[in-house]
């Protein structure tokens, strides 16, 4: 099938993301990439668990006195909702409803931005308290794990913004459908990683 062929709702394939060989390759390649990313985050989680609460003698910060679950709860809500909105976008992608795709992708970007703002606030707050990147092994591991996730969110935001702007005037085709789809895969992955960060870093940190 031609990548820049024009479609109607009737001729649009049920799975536009894998209708071309390029699409199939991107689909599989991106899943594999996420497999590698999983290992990357697993290594970061392992290091964090090993270094959690570990600092110079007399170090004042612990997971118990540092984290505030209310803020993290708000962040979690924002990010999980943004995953849902990206599902809506893919639903509209399958139904050849371009305006729906653009609208829900924009909502995803908006919610993601909200999440990132909260995270920036959180980091600035910690640094002001004296919990800086280099103050202990605990803080290095914390900022690296959560910061790597935040960096992924930021990259995703730039990516989806470019997608929305670049395709604004030309609608859906089999060239850009895999691009929207791989973005949504990426976004779900970021969301799943956050679920683990919420559980392992914050929840286990406050409770244990």
């Amino acid at each position: 099938m031609e990548t820049n062929e024009r479609f109607t709702k009737e001729t649009w394939p049920a799975h536009p993301e894998t209708a071309t060989l390029e699409g199939k390759n991107k689909f599989l390649g991106f899943w594999l990439f996420l497999g590698g990313e999983t290992i990357l985050f697993a290594t970061l989680f392992g290091t964090y668990l090993a270094l959690r609460n570990s600092g110079p003698s007399g170090y004042e910060f612990t997971t118990q006195n540092l984290f505030d679950l209310k803020l993290v709860f708000a962040m979690t809500l924002l990010l999980l909702t943004s995953s849902l909105t990206s599902v809506y976008a893919i639903y509209h992608l399958r139904n050849y409803n371009f305006r729906g795709v653009q609208f829900w992708m924009a909502m995803t970007a908006l919610l993601g931005t909200g999440f990132l703002m909260f995270e920036l606030y959180e980091f600035v707050h910690y640094v002001k308290l004296g919990f800086t990147f280099g103050s202990s092994a605990f803080s290095s591991a914390f900022f690296t794990l959560v910061g790597t996730h935040g960096l992924h969110v930021a990259v995703g935001l730039v990516w989806v913004t470019l997608l929305i702007l670049r395709n604004a005037k030309r609608g859906l085709n089999l060239y850009n459908a895999p691009k929207y789809y791989t973005f949504s895969l990426y976004w779900h992955f970021i969301d799943v990683v956050w679920v683990f960060i919420f559980t392992v870093v914050y929840l286990m940190g406050v409770i244990s």
């Binding site: 990548t3 820049n4 060989l21 199939k24 390759n25 599989l28 390649g29 594999l32 990439f33 497999g35 590698g36 990313e37 290992i39 990357l40 290594t43 970061l44 290091t47 090993a50 270094l51 570990s54 600092g55 110079p56 170090y59 990147f133 280099g134 103050s135 202990s136 092994a137 605990f138 803080s139 290095s140 591991a141 690296t144 730039v158 990516w159 470019l162 997608l163 670049r166 060239y175």
Partner: protein
């Protein structure tokens, strides 16, 4: 906008040719660039090795200083593993795997080019440390307690250079996985894939899961050294053992990433020159998968003496010894492939025959070290040096040299001289055993590894001298190979499609070198060793087309991979000099910005590739039949 559509057959001048190689996304050209780039670093690492051996020629030698010796041994190991062995294997994978599965190119030609440039510029970045006189000196394992204490920028070159090159490796891994899963020709089922394709497949899967830990570990090291992190600093609650774990979680699979493709090369060679189907194909595949899996389960055998406790040591010892089982399966399959075959002792076959005893010796000493109590005795002695050179040189390097001779006609369209090839083998093989066999005893006699020099009267003098003479012999072998390559390139005598006349797999059905679009019509694969089957049935074309001749879709070249990599290198220099120069930070940010700009450009600019019209392909094929391409 030109009115003439691109067809791929345009003639090019010198500047355009250079530009073509800089921007190419053709897997065959990228394969050649990997082979040449890797070859360059192989020679560099070899010279470093000769310096090391020259320093150890006699007791209390002062050929180099102790500090330079540390630089040399660190750079020798790092260069050989990351910049020589792996890229040269990638060269064969790129050049051969798409042909073996009947594909037009790899799945992501752009990423393929990006992967090459990341390796090449990352490697040059690492070696730029020599120009700055601040060279990595904490060993190729760069244990944190050593590397954090190292002055100057040596370790920074190591961390950033490997980060850049490692990213390229990860991309290559994903690329081969998708290519092999999605782009096999009709009839090429998994259990009909040539063994080299299978081993590439498993090695790529291992890259996917082994390289992210290295990425993270190198980031930790970078943060600790350049950005005030505290991961490995015990005074701030850090733990240096974390580096050892992360490094070996990557590092052990890495040695299987190297050896599996070499196993694949030998499997092809044994079958080809015994003129027999590979014995035990299914068990060969199973053994490859099993080695790939077990390779992830044994990393702590590098850390027996750290003190992880008897339980951990016992588990990792048993897992280590278990790997000998699938490896043994492979050895016996190779032997039984030769058994009763109609053997032709060509240069590649000579390497393959030499490989079996050499690698078995390395494997046996590996099982010895796998026994944790014995490892306490052998640890940090020359026995270890002997062992890993027996598996890496006796396995991987012999494989690379065999592959070079075996696939040279397919990659370059001309045959390396067999006489010079056999001379190379003689010098290299004899020199190899001379260098490393005696080192087992040096280890038993108590000589520690990584020492700059040693005192007279410990009984080590003769052994060290023998070892040095062996290293020189290996150097002569490689020199002969280089002369061979230059001579045959100058002569440039064309060879037939099936250059060895005994080819079994699809790459031999194509002209040498193949046209840029590979198969004019996608082939139909009729069984394992499909070309052999076709030849048995008298098909002179050596393959059956699976489709009518049609326009072929090809990807466009791009300079962006080079630009992205350049951005990373610039950012690397910025990060390194950030603390002592004010220009460091702007350069770091500028480099990163260049990377993201190139990525954004790639993202928003459509690239639909181009079509090669079928009448031009037909004309081109006609030319091949008339011999008009020479």
């Amino acid at each position: 906008m030109s009115t003439v559509a691109k067809t791929g057959f345009e003639k090019k001048g010198f500047g355009a040719t250079l530009w073509d190689w800089m921007t190419t996304v053709d897997h065959k050209k990228i394969g050649i660039m990997y082979l040449l780039g890797g070859g360059f670093f192989f020679i560099l690492g070899g010279i470093e090795a000769l310096f090391i051996r020259w320093q150890l020629l006699k007791p209390q030698n002062d050929f180099v200083t102790a500090g330079t010796f540390n630089d040399l041994l660190t750079m020798h190991g790092t260069t050989m593993i990351f910049l020589a062995a792996m890229p040269m294997l990638f060269g064969f994978m790129n050049a051969i795997v798409p042909l073996q599965i009947g594909a037009r190119d790899v799945a992501f030609p752009f990423l393929n080019s990006l992967g090459f440039w990341l390796f090449m510029l990352g490697g040059l970045f690492l070696n730029a440390s020599w120009l700055f006189g601040q060279v990595p000196d904490a060993g190729w394992t760069s244990y944190a307690s050593l590397s954090l204490a190292s002055d100057g920028h040596g370790i920074d070159f190591y961390a950033i250079g490997l980060q850049i090159a490692g990213a390229g490796t990860l991309m290559a891994g994903i690329n081969f996985l998708v290519t092999i899963i999605n782009m096999r020709a009709p009839g090429m089922t998994y259990m009909r894939m040539p063994l080299f394709t299978w081993t590439t497949f498993i090695a790529s899967a291992m890259i996917l899961f082994a390289f992210p830990p290295l990425t993270v570990g190198l980031f930790f090291l970078t943060f600790d050294r350049m950005f005030g992190g505290a991961f490995f600093d015990p005074a701030l609650g850090g733990n240096t053992i974390i580096w050892e774990h992360i490094f070996w979680i990557f590092g052990h699979p890495e040695v299987y990433i190297l050896i599996l493709p070499a196993f694949g090369i030998f499997s092809e060679i044994f079958a080809t020159f015994s003129r027999k189907r590979l014995f035990g194909y299914a068990s060969m595949v199973f053994a490859t998968v099993l080695i790939g899996f077990l390779g992830f389960m044994v990393w702590a055998h590098h850390m027996f003496t750290v003190g992880l406790g008897p339980t951990a040591n016992a588990i990792f010892a048993v897992a280590t010894m278990a790997i000998a089982v699938p490896t043994g399966v492979k050895i016996f399959n190779w032997l039984l492939t030769i058994w009763g075959g109609s053997i032709k002792v060509t240069t590649p076959m000579l390497y393959a025959l030499g490989f079996i005893p050499s690698f078995v010796m390395g494997g046996v000493t590996g099982v010895m070290q796998g026994s944790a109590p014995l490892d306490y005795q052998l640890h940090d002695s020359y026995f270890i040096v002997a062992h890993f050179h027996y598996v890496i040189v006796g396995g991987v390097v012999l494989g690379i040299l065999a592959g070079t001779h075996y696939w040279w006609p397919k990659m370059f369209g001309t045959m390396l001289s067999e006489t010079l090839g056999k001379i190379t083998f003689f010098f290299f093989f004899v020199g190899f055993h001379m260098t490393f066999f005696i080192q087992h005893w040096l280890g038993f006699w108590g000589m520690p590894r990584r020492v700059w020099t040693y005192m007279d009267g410990q009984g080590w003098n003769v052994a060290n001298a023998i070892s040095t003479v062996g290293a020189i012999s290996m150097g002569i072998g490689i020199l002969v190979l280089i002369i061979n390559a230059i001579m045959t390139t100058v002569k440039n005598e064309p060879v037939a499609n099936d250059a060895w006349e005994d080819g079994r797999t699809l790459e031999w059905a194509l002209p040498s070198p193949p046209p840029f679009y590979n198969f004019p019509q996608t082939p139909l694969v009729r069984g394992l060793d499909t070309v052999w089957i076709e030849k048995q049935e008298g098909n002179e074309k050596m393959y059956t087309p699976a489709e009518p001749l049609k326009d072929i879709h090809m990807p466009n070249g791009s300079i962006l991979p080079f630009v992205m990599t350049l951005g990373l290198v610039i950012a690397g220099f910025g990060a390194m000099f950030r603390l002592e120069h004010t220009w460091g930070l702007p350069v770091l940010i500028g480099g990163i910005a260049l990377v993201f700009l190139a990525m954004a450009l790639r993202s928003v600019r459509d690239d639909h590739g181009f079509y090669v019209p079928k009448h031009l392909i037909a004309e081109d094929q006609q030319k091949y039949e008339e011999g008009g391409h020479r």
